[in-house]
């Protein structure tokens, strides 16, 4: 089980590093919109990770057609369809949160007149 999982380690490294980049942006940047962009990068990183999990080398697309046989002499060759469907919901949720974040960002700019998180903190103190 473990070695199949680690076969496509390159994709896991890539997606988790994307999540790392997103985290870096969220943690260090002060501008609210940069933070929202960072959040989006984390979202896409996790989505990539989910898709990477579903795939294994020389997997076939999981749609049954006359030519495309899902099972070849008892071994599953198709990529796993379920995580891909989960990715769909995850993307939609990511969209929702980003939309709300942007709305809040605009409102903050209206009220505070700045987007710099530190200045907002001073204004609030």
């Amino acid at each position: 089980m473990m070695q199949e999982f680690l076969q496509n380690w390159i994709y896991f490294i890539a997606s988790l590093s994307l999540v790392g980049v997103g985290l870096y942006i969220v943690l260090t940047k002060e501008n609210i919109f940069r933070i929202i962009v960072g959040l989006n990068i984390i979202e896409s990183g996790t989505n990539l990770f989910m898709v990477a999990i579903a795939w294994h080398p020389n997997a076939v697309m999981p749609i049954y057609t006359a030519t495309n046989h899902l099972m070849v002499n008892g071994k599953v060759v198709t990529a796993d369809p379920l995580p891909q469907s989960l990715v769909l919901t995850a993307i939609v949720i990511g969209l929702g949160t980003t939309a709300l974040a942007l709305a809040i960002g605009i409102k903050i700019f209206e009220k505070y007149g700045t987007l710099d998180v530190r200045k907002i903190k001073e204004a609030e103190k």
Partner: protein, 621 residues
């Protein structure tokens, strides 16, 4: 399975619910409180030793049975506290201080439950109930800001106390698996031989709670605040009855059979009891010394009640037959004379409107009945023979001397002479000396108050002259604790270890000599009454110097010369220690508050750092 016991607890609860509804109308509120007290006292007559009642409660996953049983000690404590409560409730019909009846009844319900409970859950439930009910009642005091601070200080002490008891209860539950008090104590005394330190640790958890509630030395700092700034009608119950809960708790835990287990003893007393005895003695001395210099009369008597509690604790810590008898007897006497003193104070404060000693004076002309009760009260508080205070103080000395504890007895004797000093100071500053003009219109308390005061005066004299009625039940208590009780030949007889006193004899000799005094007085030449400012002042009249009765009255800085003696003593401040803890927690609190620094990055950073620590901890641990 006698159901009358449950009524002892249920009756006050119902009464409190009813009074809570009518809390708006003061007289109705007090009337129902008094009726509930009276009916509880009546129900108490049906209860006698050996009865028990238990009901089950499905809780903590197992069915627990909460049991009430009546031992000699509990029936004694119940009688004195409810009887005094009824008298106080009767007096409170005419009182107009801001005491809420339903809180007093909650405390009464808890009081009955504590004294009868034989299981730790019920005990703890009642203890905390009494705790918060009394805290809220202390809040109703006259001086707003001070009573708030006093209530908060008292609340913190009692909450800390009950949590330490909660910890102790569950440690015992883990060891013995049962909540019943008698079983746990039996278990403790069975394993005391094996690992004494473990047992002492558990018992000290409980003793901390009891010392806090009775205001013993390290934890006495809340007593003067709570007594002085609680509503005047509640202070008598707080000082007389509620300080006995700690004593009752100690008496529960004392018979651990330390002596039989060959416990190292000092002066024939197990060393733990010896240390505890010194706590009592120090409380007695601290109470007296601090009380001498008080100007607020309620604080003065709060310290006096503290010092009497020190006597009681010192006596029961000896755990010898005469020691326990002296301790419980003094607890009863303290309840009686302290209650009488606080009720008379209640009368004086309600009439004169002030509780400062320097602002009163000469009230005996206006309030004779209160004056006489106060006189009998301070006489018995000072321990003068025909009155009820003497018997127990005398027995306490006998008990201490029997164990060769000379220094402790000397200190207690100092405390008792000091008691006479502050008692006379209060007596003089309130009733004697110059009557100031704005007290001209002061009237005696209404008839209800006079009845209560007369009743208390007669009770003090009766129990002074006939101590047998109290010593017999105490003998039963001592026997139930497995010690040989003191012989009680006749009602008037108090048998000590070194000598014995036949109290009525003193009474008769006083009466006869008073008759002689009066005869001599009326035989000699007649006298003429003069006004209070017509004094021997080398020919001038005080008014010429512009002196008013207030300024001519000597009651400010009454013992100023002695103050120089005790100055080094005042420097050590006990409540500085508790304030230190308070400030430390506040400092750490504000330091920790900095964590929530207020921007999203930091929180997200914490989350990630938490995650990383998680992983490392898992890896490394």
């Amino acid at each position: 399975m006698n159901t009358n016991l449950i009524w002892l607890v249920a009756m006050p609860l119902i009464g409190s619910a009813v009074t809570a509804v009518v809390v708006r109308y003061k007289f109705l509120d007090r009337l129902i409180t008094f009726l509930t007290f009276a009916t509880t006292l009546f129900v108490l007559f049906l209860a006698h030793v050996g009865q028990s009642y238990s009901w089950t409660l499905k809780f903590l996953g197992t069915t627990l049975n909460l049991t009430l049983n009546v031992s000699h000690l509990s029936i004694f404590m119940l009688y004195i506290s409810i009887a005094f409560g009824t008298v106080l409730a009767f007096y409170s019909l005419i009182d107009n201080s801001r005491m809420k009846g339903f809180l007093l009844l909650l405390v009464l319900a808890a009081n009955n439950w504590i004294f009868m409970s034989n299981d730790m859950i019920g005990f703890f439930f009642a203890w905390e109930l009494m705790g918060w009910a009394s805290v809220v009642s202390v809040l109703g005091g006259r001086e707003k800001e001070k009573s708030r601070h006093a209530a908060l200080y008292y609340a913190m002490m009692s909450v800390a106390g009950s949590y330490s008891m909660l910890f102790g209860i569950f440690i015992l539950w883990r060891l013995t698996g049962t909540f019943s008090i008698s079983a746990n104590i039996a278990y403790l005394s069975s394993i005391i031989g094996g690992h004494p330190w473990w047992v002492l640790g558990i018992v000290s958890l409980f003793f901390m709670t009891f010392m806090i509630k009775s205001g013993i030395f390290p934890f006495h700092t809340w007593v003067p605040l709570a007594y002085a700034y609680s509503p005047d009608a509640f202070t008598p119950f707080l000082s007389a009855a509620m300080s006995k809960y700690g004593v009752y708790g100690m008496l529960l835990f004392l018979p651990l059979g330390l002596l039989e287990k060959g416990f190292p003893t000092a002066f024939g007393v197990p060393w733990t009891n010896y240390i505890f005895l010194w706590f009592g003695v120090i409380t007695a001395v601290v109470g007296t010394v601090l009380s001498i210099f008080q100007d607020d009369v309620k604080k003065l008597f709060a310290y006096s009640s503290l010092s009497n509690l020190g006597y009681v604790v010192a006596a029961i810590a000896l755990f010898t037959p005469v020691g326990i008898t002296a301790g419980i007897y003094h607890a009863f006497n303290h309840l009686l004379f302290e209650g009488a003193l606080f009720i008379t104070l209640l009368a004086v404060i309600s009439r004169s409107g002030t509780s400062k000693l320097s602002e009163m004076g000469g009230l005996w002309k206006k309030m004779p009945i209160t004056f006489f009760t106060f006189f009998v009260g301070i006489a018995s508080a000072a321990g003068i023979p025909p009155f009820n205070g003497f018997g127990s103080k005398w027995l306490v000395y006998q008990a201490m001397i029997k164990q060769h504890l000379i220094f402790a007895t000397i200190l207690l004797f100092l405390a008792s002479t000091g008691a006479f000093m502050y008692l006379f100071k209060a007596f003089h500053s309130i009733f004697l000396g110059q009557l100031s003009h704005d007290y001209e219109r002061v009237k005696e308390v209404p008839i209800v108050g006079q009845i209560v005061e007369a009743f208390l005066m007669i009770a003090m004299i009766f129990f002074g002259v006939q101590p047998g009625y109290i010593l017999k039940p105490i003998g039963a208590i001592v026997k139930s604790m497995g010690l040989k009780p003191l012989p009680v030949m006749a009602n008037g007889y108090v048998a000590g270890m070194f000598s014995n006193v036949y109290m009525p004899l003193i009474g008769w000799s006083l009466v006869v000599s008073f008759i002689f005094g009066f005869i001599l007085f009326y035989v000699s030449a007649e006298h003429k009454n003069v006004s209070q400012t017509d004094n021997y002042t080398a020919g001038q009249i005080p008014e010429d110097w512009g002196l008013t009765p207030e300024t001519y009255q000597f009651s400010w800085n009454f013992y100023q010369p002695v103050e120089k003696l005790f100055v080094p003593f005042f420097r050590i401040k006990i409540d500085g220690f508790f304030r230190g803890i308070g400030d430390w927690t506040k400092a750490t609190g504000s330091a920790i508050k900095e964590i929530f620094v207020g921007n999203a990055q930091m929180y997200a950073f914490f989350a990630i750092v938490g995650l990383i620590i998680f992983v490392i901890a898992g890896w490394m641990a």
